[in-house]
Amino acid sequence: MAAAESPMLEVHGLTVTFDLQEGDRITVLNEVSLTVGFGETLGVIGESGCGKSTLALAIMRLVKPPTGRIQSGTIRLGDEDLVMLNEAQMRQRRGVDLGMIFQEPLTSLNPVYTVGEQIAEVLRRHKGLTRAEASARALDMLRQLKLPDPEDKLHAFPHELSGGMRQRVMIAMALICSPKLLIADEPTTALDVTVQAQIFDLLKEIRPASSAMILITHDFGAVAEMADRVVVMYAGHCIERGTVREVVTSPAHPYTQGLLACVPDITNAGTYARGTLPEVAGTVPSLTNLPEGCPFSPRCDRAIEKCTTMPPDVPLGAGRSVKCWLAEVNR
């Protein structure tokens, strides 16, 4: 499904830093590059602190001074570099070209406006619809999202809805202007598994066929279910990329291998006896105190001398690469 010639979104060499109170500066994204094609879903996977949510915020241009800065890189959406746009121009892109769904719908919705008003606001602001027109479109959207009693829900406040319903409202707001790109940052992490399944189905059904999605998650199951291609992140770096099948069935980076092996899989139960789950030793390094070279090397049981310098992005095939010296040595 990958559109080879001109992707919808192309992030190239994106580096984002945050200034801490103590005067330290941490690099949260380090030369991150990725593409998303038309109609494609890209999974971005990694553990807490790997930079995956910052990536979403940076694409939305919600990483802002004085603390956060896009130091270098480009974010091309179509023929436009979002990094070069000013805030007024960006406001025209958000909601229209770029939609975003956050992890915690309760804190992302305004508690003092009804659900209908919040969805309608997007249309009134961006499409200049009247209150009545916008409200009718909002109702239509809630119907598509299979919210029970949509007429009543239009007049409900966020706290009156369940978690699954709130996330449907977030999706309605994100999709009401049919954005080219939808960024979903852990959209189901706060939800029960049966509701997660409903939300995933909706995200597959309701998106326009040409639109693209970036799904940010820590769950390889979610990636396998939803995405076409995947990027694995560690300590601000893209360390592996490829199609979901390539990465899930033959992970190349020792970290990806560890991440896949350490989660018990209900469909492959019995692979590991109790107490013998493969572990990735140690913890994710602090961004204020990153190791020399490959950030994973202190935890890697196959680290070699070379790993004290940053490994190159080693190409393994079309759209497939890994940032690891072992791959370079084996080549």
């Binding site: 553990e47 807490s48 029970p148 369940s162 978690g163 699954g164 319903m165 029960d192 598994v193 049966t194 509701v195 997660q196 399944a197 409903q198 995933f200 189905d201 820590h218 769950d219 390889f220 199951g221 979610a222 396998a224 279910e225 939803m226 979901v244 099948r245 899930v248 069935t249 560890g258 991440l259 896949l260 350490c262 989660v263 018990p264 899989d265 209900i266 469909t267 492959n268 139960a269 019995g270 590991y272 109790r274 107490g275 013998t276 789950l277 493969p278 572990e279 990735v280 030793a281 913890t283 994710v284």
Partner: protein
């Protein structure tokens, strides 16, 4: 050999609704029975609001049960008071979900682990210190960590501290209430292995409460599935997950996103959300979401019955439902 027998446990919460309106009752746990066996793990699984955590808390009297018995030997924990209850609690310890809020930020790691020993009056300050060092090492930390405060630890390390604190009084029962849910997967694997190692060495019984079916299958000998306060299915882990009898268990399993790209995608899809425990549907509480529900299901509540050897389910049609793959 049973270390703890929970019999017909029910927990109700009253909700006040203003001065003049009649309060309502949440039946959080209803008629739950199970046994804990030394050296083995019972998994308790279900979605938000199913009563799994309340069951764990009530079993150690951190909240009061409305009816039922919790038998430790020949004594009913629900009837104990004062010093007796405190001594009994040393036999049942708990590890909570959130390693941030469940540790006292003003105590050092050593202080946190020593606190239960001090409260129970175990040993002298000197022997307690030695015990703290030993516990720190058993959970994969070092004695030097004893001087640090909780905020100086990572999430995974904090959960190790919570485990060390729980193990300090040498309990016979360890309750893990979503103990690995807040952890990143790599850290989760470390903590699961640690728990398994500790259980093998010390032989405590474990009640493992979690919403994560994959983790529950991995750690449990026996598994109970709860829905809206009641047990809907119970069997040994392999039987339950290989051949589930209750449509809710089937739906839970088919909702888990699978890494198996070649798994056929014929799934049971549930409509709607879990009903509110304030307003439990009539008959079978699951009937309004159940794809197999018949007229009978909305009228008559199915009892938990043994359908096959050691495999219990509360469904009128258990064993007669074709399970889609």
């Amino acid at each position: 050999m049973t270390v703890l027998s929970v019999r017909n446990l029910s927990v109700e919460f009253g909700i006040r609704r203003g001065l003049f309106r009649k309060g309502r009752v949440v039946r959080a746990v209803q008629d739950v029975s199970f046994d804990l066996i030394p050296g083995t793990t019972l998994g308790l699984v279900g979605e938000s609001g199913c009563g799994k955590s309340t069951t764990g808390l009530a079993a150690m009297r951190l909240i009061d049960a409305h009816a039922g018995k919790v038998l430790f030997g020949d004594r009913d924990i629900l009837k104990l008071q004062g010093a007796d209850l405190r001594q009994m609690r040393s036999k049942i310890q708990i590890v909570f979900q959130d390693p941030f809020s469940s540790l006292n930020p003003r105590l050092t790691a050593a202080g946190i682990i020593a606190e239960p020993l001090e409260i129970l009056g175990v040993g002298t300050p000197g022997t307690r210190r030695a015990r703290v060092d030993e516990l720190l090492m058993q959970v994969g930390l070092s004695p030097e960590h004893g001087g640090l405060f909780p905020h100086q630890f990572s999430g995974g390390q904090r959960q190790r501290l919570g485990i060390a604190r729980a193990l300090a009084p040498d309990p016979e029962i360890l309750i893990c209430d979503e103990a690995v849910s807040a952890l990143d997967v790599a850290i989760q694997a470390q903590v699961l292995n640690l728990l398994a190692r500790l259980q093998a060495n010390r032989g405590f019984a474990m009640l493992f409460i979690s919403h994560d079916l994959s983790v529950v299958r991995h750690v449990s000998d026996e598994v109970i599935v709860m829905y809206l306060g009641r047990i809907v299915e119970r069997a040994n882990a392999k039987t339950l997950f290989d051949a589930p009898l209750h449509p809710y268990t089937m739906a839970l399993m088919s909702a888990i996103p699978s890494r198996d790209l070649d798994r056929p995608s014929t799934r049971i899809r549930l409509q709607g959300d879990v009903a509110s425990p304030i307003n439990v549907p009539s008959g079978c509480a699951f009937h309004n979401r159940c794809p197999f529900a018949q007229a009978r299901c909305s009228k008559e509540r199915p009892e938990l019955e043994q359908i096959r050897d050691g495999h219990y389910a509360a469904c009128h049609f258990a064993g007669r439902i074709e399970r889609p793959l």
